[in-house]
Amino acid sequence: MGFLADYISTVYNSVKSLLIGMKRTGYYFTHHKEIITEEYPDNRATLKMADRFKGEVIMPHTETNEHRCTGCTACELACPNGTIKIITKFDITPEGKKKKAIDTFIYHLELCTLCNLCVDACPTGAIQMGQGFEHSVRNRADLTKVLNKPGSKVLEGVE
């Protein structure tokens, strides 16, 4: 009879464990409050990333089209995989001195790993981590960006 008792208890315990599992999934089927789905494209207006979210590298410009980048290439050196290329030029200041400034600040978003090392390395705080994350394009070349706006200058007093 021991065999039979074993047999029945196996069946009983198995069925019980299965029912417990079904109860749990059934609970979630009937409790819609637990649903946490974030409706992305519809909530775009209200969607806010975390403060420190690293979406892309940006270079903030003031209203007078000035940035803080002096072209010291600290970020370029700090970058582990050559995401940033800075092409410098020499501006002639009103006093007649030559001054190094950036010509183009090329940023390869397609290479960037958003590791924050360039922002850490920047002595003037010229670049920051931006919040944008919608970087899907049809052409890969669109991901290579120039961060300084055309005609922008270095902010006065940033060395």
Binding site: V11, L18, G21, M22, R24, T25, G26, F29
Partner: protein, 251 residues
């Protein structure tokens, strides 16, 4: 495309197009065609996953055919007819699930398990076994042919649940409770097709519920379950039902 012919056959039953006097036998015969479709599909696609899936499902479906058949038999014993209309008529006073006592309940549970396995649904989806055999027997099929596999699977579920609803839950018979005339009356207002579809959908829901909840069995466990548990239990249950039927212990 074997599954096409099978799909067509199987549709034939549940809408009472032809009230065969061996209806139940006919349906169970036709629905076992599924295995041929799957076996052929898997074997002919020259793919190892498909081959494995087909072989598995061959062993699986034929095995579970038995307990499904045996649980159908218990109801046949009670009604004494294979004709679908007779079976439904016999449940006018109450569904067999409730009238038939414990044996009917056991038969019902076994039937639900067996049809889950027969239709290759999780936790018995050995033929597909996505994490093992990528997509099993229909790995090599794409587009419309793949769609027909899916369609046939769901038609198959519908058929199997339809039989279940007919046999155990009284087909289109509304739900009646003893002598609550008022209650019974309200129930009668609901159209019979709604009753039938509602019951079928309930069974389909249960099968889907299984799918959410349970992990997949391994092939040897699957066959163990059938041959060591379901088959002996359903054989025993059949005898029990015979006794119940002969003694008239049902309502």
């Amino acid at each position: 495309m074997c599954n096409v012919a099978y799909g067509a056959y199987a549709i034939a039953k549940n809408f009472q197009i032809w009230d065969l006097n061996i209806g139940v036998l006919y349906v169970s015969a036709v629905s076992s065609f599924a295995v041929i479709g799957i076996l052929m599909a898997g074997w002919s696609s020259n793919n190892k996953y498909s081959l494995l899936g087909a072989m598995r499902s061959g062993a699986q479906i034929v095995s579970y055919e038995l307990s499904a058949g045996l649980s159908i038999l218990t109801i046949v014993i009670l009604t004494g007819s294979l004709k679908v209309s007779d079976i439904i008529q016999s449940q006018e006073t109450g569904w067999w699930l409730f009238k038939g006592h414990i044996p009917a309940l056991i038969a019902f549970v076994i039937y639900v398990i067996a049809i889950t396995a027969e239709t290759n649904r999780a936790p018995f989806d050995m033929a597909e076994a996505e994490s093992e055999l990528t997509a099993g027997f229909h790995t090599e099929y794409s587009g419309m042919r793949f769609a027909f596999f899916f369609l046939s699977e769901y038609i198959n579920i519908f058929i199997a649940c339809g039989i279940g609803a007919t046999l155990f839950l009284g087909g289109w018979m509304p739900f009646h409770i003893g002598h609550w005339e008022a209650f019974n009356h309200i129930m009668d207002f609901i159209p019979s097709s709604v009753w039938f579809l509602g019951k079928v959908f309930f069974l389909i829901f249960v099968i889907m519920w299984f799918r959410w909840t349970f992990p997949r069995l391994r092939i040897d466990q699957l066959l163990n379950l059938e041959w060591k548990y379901l088959l002996p239990i359903s054989l025993f249950n059949l005898l029990l039902m015979t006794v119940v039927a002969i003694m008239g212990w049902y309502f």
